[in-house]
């Protein structure tokens, strides 16, 4: 249960609420407002298996961030948490094993499903 969950979201309250919930669930959470600091944290030794990625980010879009992270850390699993209603998964991300079930639309009135999914991935179980 010591695995880290990485959250990248530029909306502070979303980021912190998610962090708080996951921490309450017992996870260690690293939350960043952009991709660059997250990458910096990973480069400085941060280890995590799950990343909850927002799409609209200040330095790059979520899809590109996932591609970069996937290239650097092929084992990393991703969950997408987006405020965009018209988001659809690009084919190359699907090829990485992502599907619509890993896309969560904001606002989440209940964080439990997302937390559960993140927990399962962090624990090394394949997502249902």
């Amino acid at each position: 249960m010591n695995h880290w969950i990485l959250i990248v979201d530029d909306e502070t309250m979303i980021r912190e609420n998610l962090k708080a919930y996951l921490e309450d669930e017992g996870w260690r959470v690293a939350a960043f407002e952009a991709v660059a600091p997250a990458l910096a944290w990973l480069r400085t030794g941060g280890v995590c298996r799950v990343c909850i990625m927002d799409m609209r980010l200040p330095d790059m879009d979520g899809n590109s961030a996932i591609r970069i992270l996937h290239q650097l850390y092929p084992d990393m699993k991703f969950l997408i948490h987006t405020g965009s209603s018209s988001y659809s998964l690009p084919e190359d991300l699907r090829a990485m094993g992502l599907d619509d079930r890993r896309v969560y639309h904001k606002p989440l009135s209940d964080m439990a499903p997302l937390a559960a999914a993140a927990g399962r991935l962090a624990a090394g179980e394949e997502a249902p």
Partner: protein, 798 residues
């Protein structure tokens, strides 16, 4: 003929009258009276005086007496007078005394007078006798004379009559000598021909002739030969070269016979002649007129003919002959009746006979006739009885008009009329034809339905009476006719039995040759107007959707903060969470008491309110986001049955639903069409629609407290659509509600219970995203039925 009538055979007046003997008779009687008176006087004075007068001389009387006395021996000799006195005395005896002188004188006078009287009487008698004989003879002569006069008169009369006849006759008399030269022409010749006889006398007939043609020459040759052979001839007609005073050659007709004397010597010819110029001209004119008439009847395109009782043609024009494929001569000269199609011929002959026998004309408005080419024609025939001149037999005279084309045209017109009638009836528009005064002339079927009157019943009525809601169109009708262009009244609002209807009304002027008028076309566009307003709404929704899509990210993040924040707060004040207990224990707070405090101060309740409000706002944003067209990428074949079952499970586990109604209490009837399984659609969207319908049904039934709430889910194939029906037995809806349920933000639920977008989103999903249809039928107290129709064939989304 002579103008003078024959004289009546009366006797001529008596020119020799028998002379009246009145005077003679008077004298006779006077003489006789005188004699008798004298004798009486003598007798009275001296009857016996003779005795005394013997010897006295009486010389005068004795001289004349012997000439007038009848033979009397005593009186014959005057010298014996003296002795006679003696004689008298002897016979009579002497008596009395001797007479006186006077007496003697008297006696002698008496004796003298007596024979004188006797002689006078005798003379008178003789004269009378003689006169009688003369009168008798005269009468005889007169009679003879009269007879002769009568004979003469008769002769004269006969002569006159003959003269009159000759003069009055149309013929003249001519005579020729033995050299065949005219010697005599009666006066009639000039009167009739205008040719003076002096031009003719002394010439031969051929010398007068006008010979123009070879036939003429031949004719003359024959005539001349005949005359030279001295044969009688009759009715020789020729044209003279003499013009007389009439300025034209005359046609003469002559007959003649040779004249011979008692010894049989040929003296010449005598005969009669007549001028037949007028007759020939009349004949020529008649012929000309007949030809003209013939030409006219041949020119007439209709069949003109006369037929006898046996069906033989007595007369036929070209058209008739053509119809039989014969020439006019062939047709008329045919001895046997024409035979065509048996029934037709029989019928025609029967008609002929009917006309002939009844003597009444007959009109056959239509009869068929097969001509020689086998073409069936329709004829209109008029037959009248017709007495054949010269034959004294009744035939039938007919005129047949070929109305084949006319009939065809008429039928075509009727067919066209029906066709047009069908066309105008097939139009969904209400069509009302009116005259310039607004009286109905034509209604089509939709108009009959709209007006509740048949065309026949409505004809002639004012259109405003039949269609009260169109009465305002009278002015446009007049205007359209006046201006000659259509006048539109779009989207006229009509109050049809208390319901608001929209109609596009157009008035077209009719510009026929004679009759002007207008056609009022009314299209009920209520449905279109509703659809249009719906489309406007849809457009609104789409713009809402676009707007929502644009700002969703911006709204969803704060909503996320609110929702997630309130969830975290609720979690972190919960007394049973180990992390909470750990932190509370570290800072010395009794979590249980804190929780009680939060409860008592309703802080948790408020937090829950914040969470619900956030969730509702999120729902609204999500619904609004549905009003945007999606790509078809999400379309996939979906198993309807599976999908419906999924939705039923979702409904049963729906958080909102569970909180307010127990979905499990509802009896779910499944009526699935096993043949209908795969439908191409966006599964999540359709699921949302059906779920929405189920939730509405459950909500409505729960509100009404229906004792046995039932929802029937039904699928079936309907033409090109897959039909999914959600039927409940809830309270139903009235018509007004039913019309508005698909409008966005229309809701019958209490404030806060729904977003008011559910059904409009469903409508949008079905109609806009799936090209399907969503319809609702309901009546108050009878539940509601929602029908989703999804096309089975894929069409590109608009």
């Amino acid at each position: 003929m002579s103008a003078s009538p024959p004289r009546p055979p009366s006797s001529p007046p008596p020119r020799w009258p028998i002379p009246s003997n009145h005077w003679a008779r008077r004298w006779r009687w006077r003489l006789a009276f005188a004699v008798v008176a004298s004798i009486v006087a003598i007798a009275v004075i001296d009857p016996f005086a003779y005795r005394q007068t013997v010897g006295s001389p009486q010389p005068a009387a004795l001289v004349t007496a012997p000439y007038s006395l009848p033979p009397n021996p005593e009186l014959a000799v005057p010298e014996r007078c003296a002795s006679s006195a003696t004689l008298l005395d002897r016979w009579l005896g002497a008596a009395g005394p001797e007479p006186s002188e006077f007496e003697v004188m008297l006696r002698y006078t008496i004796w003298l007078l007596l024979p004188l009287g006797l002689i006078t009487v005798a003379a008178l008698l003789w004269s009378w006798l003689l006169r009688r004989q003369v009168a008798q003879r005269t009468r005889q002569l007169q009679r003879e004379l009269n007879e002769r006069q009568q004979v003469e008169a008769a002769l004269r009369e006969s002569e006159a009559r003959f003269r009159d006849v000759t003069e009055a006759a149309s013929d003249w008399i001519w005579e020729m000598d033995e050299n065949l030269r005219f010697t005599y022409l009666s006066e009639r010749f000039y009167a009739l021909t205008g040719i003076a006889p002096q031009y003719v006398i002394g010439r031969t007939r051929w010398g007068l002739a006008d010979i123009n043609t070879a036939a003429d020459a031949q004719k003359w040759q024959r005539h001349r030969e005949m005359l030279e052979r001295r044969r009688p001839f009759r009715d020789f007609v020729y044209q003279t070269g003499l013009h007389g005073n009439r300025n034209e050659g005359r046609y003469l007709k002559v007959s003649g016979k040779p004249v011979h004397d008692a010894q049989g010597r040929f003296l010449g010819y005598r005969g009669t002649g007549t001028d037949i110029t007028e007759q020939i001209k009349a004949e020529a004119a008649l012929h000309e007129s007949e030809l003209r008439l013939r030409r006219i009847i041949d020119l007439v395109p209709h069949m003109i003919f006369a037929r006898d009782r046996q069906g033989r043609f007595l007369l036929a024009n070209h058209a008739t002959a053509d119809a039989y494929g014969l020439s006019v001569e062939e047709l008329v000269n045919r001895k046997v009746p024409i035979s065509g199609v048996y029934e037709e011929t029989e019928r025609m002959l029967a008609d002929d006979r009917e006309v002939i026998e009844s003597g009444v004309s007959k009109l056959l408005a239509e009869e068929t006739f097969t001509d020689h080419a086998g073409q069936v024609r329709t004829l209109q025939t008029f037959k009248i009885p017709f007495v054949v001149p010269g034959l004294n037999e009744t035939a039938v005279l007919g005129v047949a008009i070929d109305i084949t084309e006319q009939k065809r045209a008429k039928e075509e017109v009727a067919r066209m009329r029906l066709y047009l009638r069908n066309i105008i009836d097939s139009m969904p528009s209400v069509l009302i034809g009116v005259d310039p005064w607004g009286y109905i002339t034509v209604l089509n079927q939709p108009a009959e339905q709209a007006g509740g009157l048949s065309w026949e019943a409505a004809q002639g009525r004012f259109f405003g009476d039949v269609f009260p809601y169109l009465e305002s169109q009278f002015e446009p009708v007049r205007q359209a006719i006046r201006l000659g262009r259509p006048i539109k009244t779009p989207r006229m609002t009509l109050d049809v039995q208390g319901e608001l209807h929209y109609a596009d009304v157009m008035v077209y002027p009719l510009m026929a040759d004679s009759a002007s008028g207008a056609v009022i076309r009314m299209d009920d566009v209520t449905a279109r107007v509703r659809i249009e307003s719906m489309m406007v709404q849809t457009e609104k929704m789409l713009s809402v959707g676009g707007l929502a899509a644009g700002m969703a990210h911006e709204i969803n993040n704060p909503l996320g903060a609110i929702l997630q924040g309130s969830q975290n707060i609720l979690r972190r004040v919960a007394p049973d969470m180990p992390q909470n207990q750990a932190v509370a224990g570290a800072i010395g707070v009794d979590l249980e008491r804190l929780h009680r405090y939060l409860e008592q101060r309703q802080i948790l309740h408020f937090l829950e309110g914040i969470r619900e409000a956030g969730a509702r706002a999120a729902k609204i944003v999500a619904d609004m986001l549905s009003f945007s067209r999606r790509s078809e990428s999400r379309f996939a074949p979906v198993d309807l049955e599976d999908m419906l079952e999924t939705v039923l499970r979702l409904a049963a586990s729906d958080y909102d639903l569970k909180k307010k109604y127990d979905f499990k209490r509802i009896d779910i009837q499944r009526d699935y069409d096993p043949a209908l399984r795969l439908v191409h659609c966006d599964k999540t969207e359709i699921e949302q629609v059906i779920l929405n319908l189920l939730k509405n049904a459950a909500q409505a039934m729960a509100e009404e407290g229906v004792p046995t709430p039932t929802i029937t889910l039904r699928t079936c194939r309907e033409a090109e659509y897959a039909l999914i029906e959600v039927i409940d037995n809830g309270p139903g809806m009235d018509e007004k509600t039913l019309k508005r349920i698909f409008e966005p933000f229309f809701t019958t639920k209490e404030v806060g219970a729904g977003t008011g977008l559910g059904l409009s989103v469903s409508y949008f999903i079905v109609t806009e995203q799936h090209n399907g249809r969503l319809a609702a039928t309901s009546k108050p107290g009878q539940g509601a039925r929602f029908s989703i129709r999804l096309p089975l064939t894929r069409e590109p989304s608009p």
